[in-house]
C-alpha cells in the first residue's frame, strides 16, 4: 500500500472511532431518561382513557397475547393492560396498538370497560401533518364519537362514524386502531373482563 491509501484508511477510522465514542456516551446518558419518558407517556395515556382505574398490569399470558395479535389483523397489536380500581376491582382494559396513519404508524392507547365499551382513545405518538392530520387530537368531537359507541361495537358500527375533512387518512388510522382494540377485547378478554 502506498502512503495515501494508509492515510485515507487511518483518517476515516479515527473519525469513526471518535464519533462512535461520542454517540455511545450520549446514548448512555439519555437511555434511561428516554425509557422513563416512554413509560410515563404510556401510563399517562392509560390514565386518560381509563379515568376510574388506579393500577395497570401488563397482560402477559401467552395465549391471550396470541389471540390479541390474531384479532388485531392488519393493525399491529403492541400490548394490553388490565386495569383495576384502587380497591382492586377490575376496571377494564387498556389496549395499545399501532395503526397506519398518513405519516406512518400512529401509536394509540384505547381504553375499554369490562363490557367492551370504549372509554377513551389517546394518541401516544404519531407523525401526522401538523395542523391537518393532528386535528384528530384537536377536534374534540372526533374522539368523543368513539366513547358513544355501544359496548362491543362491531366494525360496521365504527365505519358509520364521521371522519375529519382534510384528515381522512389520519381519521381512518384512529378508527382502524379502535376497531382492532375492540376485536382484541372480544377475542382475548371478552365475556370475563378484569382479573
Amino acid at each position: 500500500m502506498d502512503k495515501t491509501a494508509i492515510k485515507l484508511v487511518v483518517s476515516t477510522t479515527v473519525v469513526c472511532i471518535v464519533a462512535a465514542a461520542g454517540l455511545g456516551m450520549t446514548y448512555g446518558v439519555t437511555k434511561d431518561r428516554i425509557a422513563k419518558m416512554d413509560r410515563e407517556a404510556e401510563v399517562a395515556a392509560l390514565r386518560a382513557v381509563l379515568p376510574d382505574a388506579k393500577r395497570f398490569s401488563k397482560v402477559a399470558a401467552a395465549e391471550d397475547l396470541a389471540a390479541a395479535k390474531k384479532a388485531a389483523g392488519e393493525v399491529t397489536f403492541v400490548s394490553a393492560y388490565s386495569a383495576s380500581s384502587s380497591g382492586g376491582d377490575p376496571a377494564g382494559w387498556g389496549v395499545r396498538v399501532a395503526s397506519r396513519g398518513y405519516g406512518g404508524p400512529m401509536q394509540l392507547v384505547i381504553g375499554l370497560d369490562r363490557d367492551g365499551k370504549v372509554t377513551g382513545v389517546s394518541i401516544v405518538a404519531m407523525n401526522e401533518t401538523p395542523g391537518l392530520g393532528t386535528k384528530v387530537l384537536t377536534e374534540k368531537w372526533f374522539m368523543r364519537q368513539f366513547t358513544k359507541l355501544p359496548a362491543g361495537a362491531s366494525d360496521a358500527d365504527l365505519r358509520k362514524l364521521d371522519a375529519i375533512s382534510g384528515a381522512t387518512k389520519s381519521s381512518r388510522g384512529v378508527r382502524h386502531g379502535v376497531e382492532a382494540a375492540v376485536r382484541v377485547w372480544r377475542a382475548a378478554f371478552g365475556g370475563g373482563g378484569g382479573n
Binding site: 476515516t12 469513526c16 446514548y27 407523525n127
Partner: protein, 221 residues
C-alpha cells in the same frame, strides 16, 4: 472582526440558505406548519450546523480530499444523533411533533453544503460565524413561514401549550396554507421579499463604493 461579521451577516441576508442558496427546502416546507415545530427545528439545525462546521474546520488539515465527504457525513450524523437522543429524552412532546425530520437533518443540504463549501476551506473562528449566520438565516425564514401558516391556516398560534395569538372567530382558516401547495406559494413571496431586500443591500454597498459579488448559483436539493 470585519470578516467575521461579514460572514455572519451573509448567512442571514445575501447568502441565506433558504431564499438565496435554496437548499434544504424539503424539511422547511414540511415542518413550518407550526411555529413550535419550526422553532425547535431551527435550534436543532443551528446546533448541528455550528458544531459540524467547527469540527470539520478543525480537522480540515488532516482530512484527505478523497474521503472528505464520508468524514463530513460521519461528523454530521453524529451530531444529529446527539440532538435526536437529547430531544427524545428532554422534550418528548416536541420530538413527537417533529418526528422523522430530526434524523433527516443528516441529509439536509445546508449542513453538508456548508461543511464542503465553507468549513473545509476556512478557519474554525470563521466557520462558527458561517454556522451561526446560516443557522439564524434559516431560522428567520422558518419562523416567518410558520407564523403565517399557523396563524392564517389554523386561526391561532399555540406555542408549548400556550396560545400566543388568535384571530377572531369569524375567520375561516383556508386549509391550503397548511398543505404543501400553500407552503410553496407563500415561500415564493418570501423569496421575492428576500430578493428585494438583497437588491437594496447591494445598491447601498455600491453607493458607498463597495462591490458585492453576485449570489452563488442555487443549490441542488
Amino acid at each position: 472582526m470585519g470578516a467575521w461579521r461579514k460572514t455572519f451577516m451573509d448567512g442571514i441576508s445575501l447568502e441565506n440558505p433558504l431564499t438565496v442558496l435554496m437548499i434544504g427546502l424539503c424539511a422547511t416546507l414540511a415542518v413550518t406548519s407550526k411555529l413550535e415545530g419550526s422553532f425547535f427545528m431551527s435550534i436543532a439545525v443551528i446546533f448541528v450546523l455550528v458544531m459540524s462546521n467547527v469540527l470539520v474546520s478543525a480537522i480540515r488539515k488532516f482530512t484527505p480530499n478523497e474521503v472528505r465527504i464520508p468524514i463530513f457525513i460521519v461528523v454530521i450524523a453524529s451530531f444529529v444523533t446527539i440532538v435526536d437522543l437529547s430531544m427524545k429524552a428532554f422534550v418528548p412532546g416536541v420530538y413527537a411533533l417533529l418526528g422523522i425530520w430530526i434524523p433527516l437533518i443528516v441529509v439536509n443540504c445546508i449542513i453538508l453544503g456548508r461543511a464542503e463549501a465553507f468549513a473545509y476551506h476556512n478557519t474554525v473562528w470563521l466557520s462558527i460565524a458561517d454556522g451561526l449566520g446560516m443557522g439564524i438565516g434559516y431560522s428567520v425564514i422558518m419562523v416567518m413561514l410558520s407564523v403565517v401558516r399557523e396563524l392564517f391556516g389554523t386561526g391561532r398560534i399555540v406555542f408549548l401549550g400556550a396560545q400566543l395569538l388568535a384571530l377572531p372567530a369569524w375567520f375561516k382558516p383556508p386549509g391550503i396554507l397548511l398543505s404543501f401547495p400553500g407552503a410553496f406559494i407563500l415561500f415564493g413571496f418570501v423569496i421575492a421579499g428576500s430578493i428585494a431586500l438583497n437588491r437594496k443591500l447591494r445598491a447601498r454597498a455600491k453607493a458607498s463604493g463597495r462591490e458585492i459579488p453576485p449570489p452563488p448559483e442555487p443549490g441542488c436539493c
